[in-house]
Amino acid sequence: MIVSVRTPPTALPPPPCRGWTGLANRGGWLPTDDGGSASLLNGDAGQRGAGDKRSGKNGFVKNHCLFQQPHKYRRPREKVRPPGPGPPHGSVFRVPGAYCCRRNMTESSSSKLLNGDAGQRGAGDKRSGKNGFVKNHCLFQQPHKYRRPREKNHNVVRNPGLYNKPFVESFEETPLLVAVLTYMGYGILTVFGYLRDFMRHWNIENCNVARERDEQKDFVPLYQDFENFYTRNLYMRIRDNWNRPVCSVPGAKMDLLEQISYDYNWTFQNTGKIVRDVINMGSYNYLGFAQNKGRCADAAIQVTEKYGVGVGSTRCEMGNLDIHEEMEQLVARFLGVESAMAFGMGFATNSMNIPALTGKGCLILSDELNHASLVLGARLSGSTIRVFKHNNMVSLEKLLRDAIVHGQPRTHRPWKKILIVVEGIYSMEGSIVRLPEVIALKKRYKAYLYLDEAHSIGALGPHGGGVVDYFGLDPKDVDIMMGTFTKSFGAAGGYIGGKKELIEYLRCHSHSALYATSMPPPVAQQIITSMTTIMGEDGTTLGADRLKQLSENTTYFRRKLREMGFIIYGNDDSPVVPMMLYMPAKIGAFGREMLKRNIGTVVVGFPATPIIESRARFCVSAAHTRETLDTALEAIGEVGDLLQLKYSRYRPALPPALGWMSEESHLQD
């Protein structure tokens, strides 16, 4: 008989001491000596049965999940707080409304947990049955079966022990009325879209979009007609918010060409005027290195005088300059990896290197919100792609387990390799990947990890080292570190870092290494100069100042927006700040009203976001001063009142400082 007692949904208690495996080794097949701790650190699954888990006669414990399953049923809007032995190593508090969770962990216990991912899992009072198996094998527990459909499950607290700092994320749910009105708005616009398409089809009005000529009518259509319905009938009406020519450095402030359209955005005419000093809240200029003066620009000019701008060959032929070698060594040092290589285009770095790494018979596990370049790369590789829910470790673990248990479809051969593909900061949600948990899973299930740090490199972490630096993890735990120079470094291109063998392999097999023209020397120099500045190797504190400024700006900007009552998505430390607009007309209205107030913003609609979750996305930069941010915030507040954008039902939000205090008091209780 199997006696399996479901564990209460506790966070994993940290091991009391190194040799703690021996405490409850009832299964009979665990190493009982203290020396077992060494093997525990490797995260071997065999050492699972520790703690007071009791295994049965055959020594197996049934619950194999690293992350345990919380209650099956919970009340709809209730937040999860880990019951059980939470407070000392992981505690959660609620920010009203936004399901926030805070994870707090002392350094010592976190480091232990990080090493012994699976091995130290078996603590708690799990009991296995007579045959020694515990039924739940998951690393991460599954969340409740019941939840309201629109509720996002990003915020369920799991394994707080893996984090060395509070991990505060919020994704406030869409108010029901707003959702209904948004759908109604799209319905009305769709009806009018059909009306206009009907008129275009019968030549009642002039058709401005690409279409077949009359002579080609019998051919297969080249321009897919209905596919562009959204572009033609919704995007075109508010197109003046995008593609606006900038005629200066897009730093903290920029100049825009003034444009006017006489035919409802089908064509634009320049008025000849320039809108000066528009505050730039849209560029990915996180550290403010998009400059035309200063050390970086001077160095780039010198290099241009020495090498010129174009190289005219690929890296493997005549395009490999000493400056490229120097840059790659610097990048490897910056990332803390053995070796690195750079590519001329960030998008191609993803889309051309994933096919070099995986192929037929491999499995790619991809986050549902991964960037188009990762999706394209995964598709080009010909591997099987499975998608897990955004930042949801339970979903990822389930896919991993299924992949290992069932193998390839039909043949049931094991997969050749499994590659987990995640991003550091998701640029549309502002969320940070739960990297410690991903790494724990990757180690346990022996998969590879591809981390795209396009937005996070330079922008996160005490040393600007991206999400790995932010969580204080070892870069060697990530197999493939990818990132771009486009954003924080104010240059262009992308890189891949990892083990020496990996880079050697990619140099010979990646299309973007073999066929792409090598990076222009001034761009390489810009990367070198900005990177040495961030690392402080230039002997100044300029880089550290910028990092500090960025993190202060981020905290300030997010807090102010939340206090004003806007719905803000994402992690509190992410410099990407999405602010929800929801209704289709408000996308256009927000962009226009902000530009009237001399602030340039990026507004995002349907193909890039779910249909009802249109948003404005601000990117905070170290180049923004407090005054600039205040001006922008004032304008945002004004426009928010005008357009009724302050949807949040939880005002005033609890400022983070207060949150910490409440947590402390909770601990004292």
Binding site: M184, G185, F192, L234, M583, A585, K586, A589, L642
Partner: protein
């Protein structure tokens, strides 16, 4: 939002109506089509309710008077 005049307030309300229904992004002639359809539908609804609701209410009252009302006069005469 603080408004100086009633006109401002009405203008703001109309702006909200444009935004919520999504017709803010439409061209003027499309806006007028939408508005005229909406106005005619509302007008018809108001008109029909004006014409038919009193009759319905009266009939309903009569019905309920029949169900819950006391005895009629003939019953009274019988008793006396």
């Amino acid at each position: 939002m603080a408004f100086k005049t009633v006109t401002d307030y009405v203008a703001w309300l109309y702006y909200q109506y444009l935004l919520v229904t999504g017709i803010y992004v439409l061209e003027p002639w499309e806006k007028s089509i939408f508005n005229s359809i909406l106005i005619s539908v509302v007008a018809m609804a108001v008109y029909t309710s004006y014409v038919f609701v009193p009759t319905h209410v009266r009939l309903a009252l009569q019905f309920f008077a029949g169900v819950f009302g006391g005895q009629n006069e003939s019953a009274m005469t019988l008793m006396s």
